[in-house]
């Protein structure tokens, strides 16, 4: 359960990517606009808490993960880690203490592993770069320990292997071991199981959940799959077009969604044995608009089956609809 202090705090986080205008516009100094990938997000993650960030492609969920892991720079807002402002810290040496505490797991494990490095080198890389070990013996111990926690046993068998000699599940375990090796406090997992075979997914989820139990590690689990988020997370945050539309405990968001988009997501998710309370709302039409042209008012209104006049004019603020459960919808007030 979360401690009193949050490990990570995002305050009004914005990431806008400028659009390269045409030559003519650039010569006249006319701004060509921006892709509002992340457009004002407030999110906090407690110590040892698992938060799921749910959204479709284009919702900005991956960008949020990249900001937290310092692969992308926010254009507005603040990011506090353990109470310290990390928003403008940059450069590999300045970030070293932060990298020690925040790690990442990727969607495509094959892409995330350098094909020319052995498993040992891959897992040892953060330990070497962050100077966390004194000698080779200690390094081998830490690498072995990380591989074992990620479920690769016996670890020694994997040291000299190359990524292409592993199965898909084993590759993802190597990625996890690389993140674990430094014993971080927060891991950002970007769709860590979506490319794995169904029977392997649960194995990887089990590894992630065990980490929290053993090391009180917090996890930001980025996914498009609402039932999966429900299974693994304590809290679920639903992202639409760069903004959080709903956030609350996993059960609340799944069984008692208050934002029409969350309802639509839940209804659209195919389920074995039928949905809970399906067909409360008609199915959504169309697709997520481009983040370069965010609709006025509530950004969901052009697709919302229950939108009314106010939605087209004013953007709804997040409102408390239950304990720790907020939704940004005029109907929720």
């Amino acid at each position: 359960m979360p401690d009193t202090a949050d490990v990570l705090c995002l305050e009004s986080l914005h990431v806008h990517f400028p659009i390269q205008g045409r030559l003519f516009d650039r010569l006249r100094g006319r701004p060509a606009g921006a892709v509002r990938a992340v457009d004002g997000i407030d999110l906090n993650i407690g110590r040892g808490e698992i938060v799921a960030l749910v959204g479709e492609s284009g919702s900005g969920k991956t960008t949020v993960g990249r900001v937290i892991t310092k692969l992308a720079q926010p254009t507005g807002g603040r990011m506090l880690f353990d109470g310290r402002d990390m928003t403008s810290v940059q450069g590999s040496s300045a970030l070293r203490p932060y990298r020690h505490r925040v790690q990442m797991i990727f969607q495509d494990a094959y892409q995330a592993l350098n094909p020319r490095h052995t498993v040992f080198d891959i897992v040892a890389e953060p330990l070497r770069s962050l100077r966390l070990v004194e000698d080779g013996k200690q390094l081998a111990e830490r690498v072995g320990e990380a591989l074992a926690s990620a479920g690769l046993n016996p670890p020694g068998d994997f040291f000299a292997r190359f990524p292409h000699e592993l199965s898909g599940g084993q590759r993802q375990r190597v990625v996890i071991a690389g993140a674990l090796a430094v014993r971080p406090e927060l891991i950002v997992a970007d769709e860590p199981v979506s490319m794995l075979d169904v029977s392997i997914r649960a194995q990887i989820l089990q590894v992630l959940v065990d980490l929290r139990a053993k090391h009180n590690m917090a996890l930001l689990f980025i996914t498009h799959d609402l039932p999966l988020a429900w299974l693994i997370a304590d809290r679920i945050a639903v992202l639409y077009l760069g903004k959080l539309v709903e956030i609350g405990s996993a059960d609340e968001v799944t069984f008692n969604p208050r934002h029409p988009y969350t309802v639509a997501l839940r209804n659209a998710t195919p389920q074995i044995g039928g949905n809970v309370g399906r067909a409360e709302l008609p199915a959504l039409q169309g697709e997520v608009p481009s983040a370069a042209r965010v609709p006025k008012g509530c950004r969901f209104h052009p697709r919302c089956p229950v939108a009314f006049d106010r939605c087209r004019e004013e953007e709804p603020p997040p409102v408390e609809v239950g304990s720790g459960h907020t939704a940004a919808c005029w109907l929720a007030t």
Binding site: S199, A202, P227, Q271, I272, V288
Partner: protein, 335 residues
Amino acid sequence: MTGSSQDKAWLLEVNGLSVDYGLKGVSSRAIESVSFALRAGEAVGLVGESGSGKTTTAMAIAGLLSPNARVSSGDVRYRGNRLPIDDDAAMRPHRWSETSVVFQGAMNALNPVHRIIKQIAEPCMLKLGMSRGEATTRARELLELVGIPADRGTAYPHELSGGMRQRVMIAMALACRPSIVIGDEPTTALDVITQAQILKLLGELRSQLNLALILITHDLSIVAEACDRVMIMYAGRIVEDGTVAEIFARPKHPYTRLLIDSIPNPANGKKVIRPIPGDPPNLVIRPSGCAFHPRCPSVMGVCGTEVPSLYKLGQGRVACHMYESSQKDKVAAHA
């Protein structure tokens, strides 16, 4: 093997089909004695993990096997007639006009420099011998059929969203009025809401045009939504076959049961992660006996040595030694 004459009711029959892939001189079996049959208008889900042979099965039916694949036994019959599935040229009149395929990556399958209406009209002209004008009219009809305003036909593929492109792919598949459509993971690259839209569209088209649908997917929950029947494949064999209602309520094969259990399901309210131990099988080195036995929780001595055959059990079929004793009369499943 039963004669084809008495099975006119079947639209498609697959009898003991085995396909090998030759790779650098090593031959490996992709599917092994796969048998099933399909009625007109029926929707069947073909579910399996990577290497289960689900795609090979479907591609064999469409006559789209890769050049290094070889049909080593069995045949595929369409309305009682044997299909020349390993002869690309001989399959050409059949493909698209009787059996067509909707592929996964719509962006790769569409030509980026032609307007979509032209790409839909093309097969109509080539296959149905329509004039340009007729074909364009047909293409406009098809666009409307899949829920795209006909005027959008002048768009290029990159101007459409992923869901729209997938609709175009479906329109192309329907161009020559086939009676079987094979969907090869048609919604995998799409978002949840778009996926629901496409599945709904496929369902509507199915009842409207009396299409038989073979849906290849790794996702059981999609099958639960869109199909009447489901066949679970593991390591190149069908391990269980039954109606959707039956399989999800009472799965028989341990693999099916574990697979269903491993899917998060808020509806049953149980937040437990139940992993299936082990790795999916590799095609080249296949476990002896039942391919699932190294991962099976109810493994018995016989499982490691003998391959269970696919028995008729109740309404469906299952390939597991557990049910062998209870099943005195070993009826060949396909009879």
